[in-house]
């Protein structure tokens, strides 16, 4: 164990906040879907990795900038999400119990197929600015992370505006609060479910693109990412986007700190540790409703 100097401490804090923003984007779609549908989309990690691979292909074969490729991948993912909800998830009986296994199976299939297509070699997308960094008062701000943070905040803001100020957003929030009442008010809740799921999957397209420029990945990384994002949404409170934002920043910083103070290998444990502590002390998370639902 090493006690970091003040300079290193602040530098770590900066990196943690930057990466936390990206985590927040990745988790926002997951928590949104849970809020509306009470479904935990375990395939979210696989969608992130799929997004990363599409970004990789677009970059390698067509020299499309990873950030620009988000404009291509988001609509594709939106359609995929829509179709998945309409033709698969909406058909399962008792979704609260079984959706986890269904989406888990989907994640395994996606991981297997990605492995067949791309092999298991670790990849990363390396645009010209990969190792560039801005210096500010002797502190390093890596360009990829800055861009990741900026894009993530932008998309979360967009999500917030959609939810807060459009009719669709109001319908989604109404469905979150009380699906039956929403239906009685004339909201087509099954349409809202499909839209929300599509929106959640679409955020994974952006998350995946950001992942691809900051981290290296292979098909089996999906399980690391689903573990991270799930821990974030449990800590933040299932279904709460502001909760996910705060939890992502906390965990991003804690992860970077652990990497510095202990070693890099131990840093993922921060997530699971927080997950368990949250469940013991405050099962509803920072801002969510209580997870334990009486039958």
């Amino acid at each position: 164990m090493t006690i970091p100097s003040f300079h290193l401490f602040v530098q770590t804090l900066i990196l943690g906040v930057l990466v936390g923003g990206v985590y927040a984007l990745m988790a926002s779609g997951l928590t949104l879907i849970f809020g509306v549908m009470r479904v935990i989309n375990v395939a979210h990690g696989a969608f992130l990795i799929l997004g990363a691979y599409i970004t990789y292909v677009l970059f390698q074969n067509f020299q499309i900038d990873p950030i620009a490729s988000i404009l291509i991948t988001i609509p594709i993912f939106f359609v995929i999400g829509w179709l998945l909800q309409r033709y698969m998830l909406s058909r399962i009986a008792n979704p609260e119990q079984t959706s986890v296994l269904v989406t888990f199976a989907l994640a395994l299939v996606m991981e297997g197929l990605l492995g067949i297509i791309f092999q298991t070699t670790a990849r990363s997308v390396t645009p010209s600015y990969t190792s560039a960094a801005l210096m500010f008062a002797t502190y390093r701000f890596p360009v990829t992370r800055l861009m990741g943070f900026g894009i993530a905040l932008l998309i979360i803001l967009l999500l917030y505006l959609i939810l807060q100020y459009t009719n669709l957003g109001r319908a989604i929030r109404a469905t979150t609060q009380d699906p039956r009442a929403a239906q009685l008010m004339g909201i087509n809740t099954s349409m809202i479910s499909a839209f929300t799921f599509a929106l959640g999957v679409a955020t994974a397209a952006a998350g995946g693109a950001l992942l691809s420029i900051i981290y290296s990945f292979n098909p089996s990384s999906q399980s690391d990412w689903i573990a991270r994002t799930l821990s974030i949404i449990v800590l933040g409170g299932l279904g709460s986007i502001p909760g996910a934002l705060i939890a992502a920043l906390i965990l991003g910083v804690m992860e970077q700190m652990t990497a510095i103070v202990v070693t890099l290998y131990w840093s993922p444990i921060v997530f699971y540790f927080f997950l368990f502590i949250t469940l013991i002390i405050r099962p509803q998370g920072l801002m969510g409703e209580i997870i334990r639902e009486k039958g």
């Binding site: 395994l108 297997g112 334990r292």
Partner: protein, 332 residues
């Protein structure tokens, strides 16, 4: 028309007899190996069924107990020379105690959240196994001496046979315990929790106690199997035993056969494990294996969520009922 009905006990005795003489039917090492793995799969699936089937709590964390059993056995074998065939049974008690502690936290949650917590449990243990390399030898895993007894290694031609019988004994024990639980008041309580936990609690069932106990029992047989597994392969590595995929296979087998039934998980294991070995033999890599397993799980969840046995029983019931109805309407 009276049809000769073969009583269940005869069926069971017959199947058991086949399994007892199996190593003498075939002397192919490969076929013997597959049978040992299938028995092991049936043990883990049946054991999982106690919490996942009877109680309705879908645990994806049972790989943790499998791996813990394996590591404890491997470690004590290497350090104290404890023979795995004996130590596995005792060390698994420690694992069950650990499972109760973990269950005490995890079982506060329900449904999807419970699944998530159990997944996290597996990840934690994998991290520990990877990083506490003084004890676990990190990513390289732990090896054990070649299987044998009293310092004499078993001959390579016969080496699968002791494993066949210890797995068979363990499977019988697992099914027996599972059957007794189903018959008991405890088992009724578990099923009541699955059907409606709130009502179960209101009729005076100590639901937390029941759930934790069921979780502990269901971890025990998985841990014994893990211990014997590590000796069978004389090698155990963290990314496999503490992998979610290890958990998923148990769940898939139980669901495919019929979760919550006594024989469903066994049936599921006897279908999936040979299939799994065939896929690995035919296509090698894990990627196709993963795709096929995920695909089967997906199809089962979408089209036959109750599994083979309940679906079959329902089908037969409906047919006999229809036949009876037609017989009643056309009296001879």
């Amino acid at each position: 028309m009276t049809k000769l009905r073969i009583p269940a006990s005869v069926w069971i005795a017959g199947l058991l007899a086949i399994l007892v003489v199996y190593p003498f039917i075939t002397n192919s090492q490969y076929q013997q190996h597959i049978m040992v793995m299938t028995l092991m799969a049936a043990i883990t699936a049946s054991s999982w069924n106690i919490i996942g089937g009877y109680t309705g709590y879908t645990s994806l964390g049972h790989a943790a107990f499998f791996g813990l059993g394996g590591y404890l056995v491997a470690w004590t074998h290497n350090h104290y020379g404890w023979h795995p065939f004996i130590s596995a049974w005792f060390l698994a008690i420690l694992v069950a105690v650990f499972a109760c502690a973990m269950g005490w936290v995890a079982l506060r949650t329900q449904g999807s959240a419970f699944v998530v917590v159990t997944i996290a449990g597996v990840f934690i243990l994998r991290l520990l196994a990877l990083n506490l390399s003084d004890i676990t030898n990190g990513a390289r895993g732990l090896t054990q001496p070649r299987p044998g007894w009293g310092g004499v290694p078993w001959s390579p031609e016969l080496i699968k046979i002791p494993f066949h019988y210890i797995m068979l004994v363990l499977l019988c024990l697992t099914i027996f315990v599972s059957w007794r639980i189903r018959q008991s008041k405890f088992g009724m309580g578990l099923i009541a929790i699955r059907e409606d936990e709130g009502k179960a609690e209101s009729v005076g069932i100590d639901t937390m106690m029941y759930k934790v106990l069921a979780f502990g029992i269901s971890s025990y047989f998985v841990a014994v199997a893990g211990g014997i597994y590590s000796y069978f392969f004389t090698f155990i590595d963290p990314s496999f035993v503490f992998g979610i995929f290890t958990s998923v296979t148990m769940v898939l087998m139980a669901i495919l056969g019929g979760r919550g039934t006594l024989w469903g998980p066994v049936l599921g294991a006897f279908i999936m494990q040979p299939l799994s070995d065939w896929i690995i033999g035919e296509f090698g890599g894990t990627q196709i294996h993963l795709t096929v397993f995920g695909g089967i799980l997906l199809l089962v969840m979408l089209f036959m969520p109750n599994g083979i046995l309940p679906t079959l029983t329902e089908f037969l019931d409906r047919r006999t009922k229809a036949r009876k109805a037609s017989a009643d309407s056309n009296p001879a």
